[in-house]
C-alpha cells in the first residue's frame, strides 16, 4: 500500500460533510412517475382500462397524494445524502432506510467524469462521477452546482495526484492544452461513411413495410418498427449528438475529453490509467485515411478517445496518451498456412511487439489494431486447438485490467511459445518505469 499521507488520518475532525445541490430532489421526484409509466408500458391493456375508469376527482386526489409523496421522497433522499473529501478518500453517505457508505480511495481513481445532461445544463448543475474499479452507478454525485463540480473535480484530482490536503484546494484546475478537436463536418461525413448507420436505417425502412404485408397487424409492425427506428436514430443522430464538438486535451492531471451537443460530458483520465487503446479503421474511411480511436480504462464506461481523425493526428494523440509508444506500422501477418484455419480472414490478423506495446490487429474490412502497454498486462495465455496443432499454429491472449483480452491469433506455434515467455517477462519489467499512482508525488 502507499505510505500514509501526512496529516491524512489525524485530519479527521475537520471533515466537513456537504450535501448535493438543492435541485437534486426534483430529479429524484421522477421516480414514482417512472414507476407508473413503467407499469403502463408493461401492461398497456390494464392501464387503458384503469384510465377509462378514472374520473376527474380521482385524478385530482391521486395527484394530490402522488406529488407530495414524490416530493417527500426526493427531499428525504437528498437530505440523507452527504459527501466529504478527507485526506485520501471521497466518502459518500446515503440512504434513508438502507444506509450505505462508500469510501473511495483517491489514489485509485481511474477517471473523473463531469456530465451535464440537457436539463441539468438549464438548471446549472452537473453530475460528478469517480471511476474506480468496482464503483457502482450510485456512487456518482448528482447533482452539484456547476462551479462546485469543477472545483471538486480539481480538488479530487489534486489530492489524488499527491498534493498535500492543505494545498489541494488552492491548486486549482491544471491548465489544459488542446490536442485535437473534431470539426462537425468531419463527424457528419464519418457517420455517413459508416456502414452501421446505413444498415440500421435500411432495416428501419424496409422491415416494417414487409411485416405489414406479411401480417397486417399494426401492433407487430409498431413493436418492430420502434426499436428499429430507435437503433437507427442512436447510430446516426445519437452518435452525432454525443460526439459533437469532441475535443481532447492534455494537462498535468492527464487526458481531458470534452464532448456533447445537448448533454455535455467532460472526462479526465489521470496519467497511466489507460489499459488498452484500439485503432478502428472502417472500410469506407480508409480512402480518407481516417481512424477512430477507442480506449479502455478500468471501471469506466467511456470507451471513445477520438471519434474520427486523420491517422497521423490520431497517432500523435496516442503518443500523448501512452507515453513512449509509437503505433507499429505494419504488424506481421500469420504464416501462409494459416489460411487452412481461417480461410480469407487470416490476412487481417497481425502482430507487432515493440519495447512498449503488444499490438495485435484483426479484421479484414474493418481493421482493428489493439495496443496494450506491457505494464498493463495482467496475464498471458497461449491456447492451441487440435486443428491449430495440425498446422502448428497457436493463439496468444493478453489479459488487461479493464476486462479486455487482446488476442494475437494464428501465430506459428514456436513463435507463440517464445512470445508467451517473452511477454511474461516484458509485462513484469514493463512495470518498473511506470509512473506512480499519485502522479505528481
Amino acid at each position: 500500500m502507499t505510505a500514509p499521507v501526512p496529516g491524512g488520518v489525524p485530519d479527521r475532525p475537520p471533515v466537513a460533510e456537504r450535501r448535493l445541490h438543492p435541485v437534486t430532489p426534483f430529479r429524484r421526484a421522477w421516480a414514482p412517475v417512472a414507476v407508473l409509466a413503467g407499469w403502463a408500458v408493461h401492461d398497456p391493456n390494464a392501464a387503458q382500462e384503469q384510465l377509462t375508469r378514472l374520473t376527474g376527482t380521482m385524478l385530482l386526489i391521486g395527484l394530490s397524494v402522488l406529488v407530495p409523496a414524490a416530493g417527500l421522497y426526493g427531499f428525504l433522499s437528498w437530505w440523507f445524502t452527504h459527501f466529504a473529501v478527507t485526506g485520501g478518500e471521497l466518502r459518500i453517505r446515503t440512504g434513508l432506510l438502507f444506509r450505505r457508505t462508500a469510501h473511495i480511495r483517491l489514489e485509485r481513481i481511474q477517471a473523473v467524469d463531469v456530465t451535464r445532461p440537457l436539463l441539468a445544463r438549464v438548471a446549472g448543475v452537473a453530475k460528478l462521477r469517480i471511476d474506480v474499479v468496482g464503483a457502482a452507478k450510485k456512487d456518482e454525485l448528482a447533482f452539484l452546482g456547476e462551479r462546485e463540480a469543477r472545483a471538486l473535480r480539481a480538488e479530487l484530482l489534486a489530492r489524488a495526484a499527491g498534493f498535500a490536503p492543505e494545498t489541494a484546494r488552492e491548486v486549482g484546475e491544471a491548465p489544459a492544452r488542446e490536442l485535437l478537436h473534431v470539426p462537425p463536418r468531419a463527424l457528419v461525413l464519418s457517420l455517413l461513411l459508416t456502414g452501421a448507420t446505413w444498415g440500421s436505417l435500411a432495416a428501419a425502412l424496409v422491415v416494417p413495410p414487409l411485416l405489414w404485408f406479411a401480417t397486417h397487424s399494426v401492433w407487430t409492425v409498431l413493436a418492430t418498427a420502434l426499436p428499429l427506428l430507435g437503433a437507427a436514430g442512436a447510430s446516426s443522430a445519437g452518435r452525432f449528438v454525443t460526439e459533437y464538438d469532441w475535443s481532447v486535451g492534455e494537462s498535468p492531471d492527464g487526458l481531458r475529453i470534452d464532448h456533447g451537443l445537448l448533454d455535455r460530458a467532460h472526462e479526465t483520465v489521470p496519467p497511466g490509467r489507460v489499459q488498452t487503446v484500439r485503432i478502428v479503421e472502417p472500410l469506407l474511411w480508409r480512402r480518407l485515411g481516417w481512424v477512430r480511436v477507442e480506449l479502455d480504462v478500468a471501471g469506466s464506461d467511456n470507451s471513445v478517445l477520438v471519434p474520427v481523425a486523420p491517422r497521423a493526428v490520431a497517432e500523435s494523440v496516442i503518443a500523448r496518451v501512452l507515453p513512449g509508444v509509437t503505433v507499429p506500422a505494419s504488424p506481421a501477418r500469420p504464416p501462409r498456412r494459416a489460411r487452412w484455419c481461417v480461410p480469407v480472414w487470416w490476412r487481417g490478423h497481425g502482430l507487432a511487439v515493440t519495447d512498449a506495446v503488444f499490438a495485435a490487429r484483426h479484421g479484414l474490412l474493418r481493421r482493428r489494431l489493439s495496443l496494450v502497454p506491457h505494464a498493463k498486462v495482467q496475464s498471458v495465455r497461449l491456447t492451441q486447438g487440435p486443428w491449430g496443432r495440425l498446422w502448428r499454429l497457436a493463439d496468444v491472449h493478453v489479459d488487461t485490467g479493464a476486462g479486455r483480452t487482446v488476442t494475437a491469433r494464428l501465430r506459428d506455434a514456436d513463435e507463440a511459445a517464445r512470445l508467451l515467455r517473452a511477454q511474461a517477462e516484458r509485462s513484469r519489467t514493463g512495470r518498473r518505469d511506470a509512473r506512480p499512482d499519485r502522479w505528481m508525488a
Binding site: 485509485r108 481511474q110 474499479v133 490509467r273 489499459q275 478500468a298 498493463k376 498486462v377 495482467q378 496475464s379 498471458v380 495465455r381 497461449l382 491456447t383 492451441q384 486447438g385 487440435p386 496443432r389 491472449h397 489479459d399 488487461t400 485490467g401 476486462g403 483480452t405 511459445a417 508467451l420 515467455r421 511477454q423 511474461a424 517477462e425 509485462s427 513484469r428 512495470r431 511506470a434 499512482d437
Partner: protein, 167 residues
Amino acid sequence: METGSPAETGVTGDEPVWRGLPPGLLRMRRLLLVVWTGVLALAAGLLPGLLAGPAWGAFALLPLALAAWFWRLLGRNWRSWRYTERADDLLIRRGVLWREETVVPYGRMQLVEVTSGPLERYFGLASVQLHTAAAATDAVVPGLDPAEAERLRDRLTELGEARSAGL
C-alpha cells in the same frame, strides 16, 4: 521437490521444475465416472430390457464403452496438468486436445483462493485459484494436496506482496 529455494536464485537452469497433480484428483474423477456409468448402464440396460425384451438390454454396453473411453481421457487430461513456480511468475499448462498455457506474474495477483468442496475434502483435495484484475485470467490448479495448496497459497501471496503492482 524443492521449490522454495530457486526463488532467490531465479529459475533453476533453463527449464523450470514442473509439478503434476497428485493422483487423488484422478482417483476422484474416475470414481465419479464409475458411479455415474453404473447408474446409466443400469438404466440403459434395465429399461429396454424389461420393456422390449432381454436382447435390448445390450444397450447397457453403450455407457460402458463410453466410460472406458472417458477413463482414458481423464487419465490423459490429468497427466496434462502441470504447473511451475518460476522466479517471477506462475506457469500453468493443461489440456490435451485444446492446450492452454497461462502465465501470471506474481505482482499482478489480486487474490489467491483455496477452495475445496465436500467431495474434494473427502478425497483430501483442494484447488488454488489466482485472480488478477483481468477477469479473463483463469489460472487455477485443481486437485492439490491441502498442505501443498496452502503452501502454494502462502508462497504466492508472499511473492505477490513483494512484487506487488497496481492496475
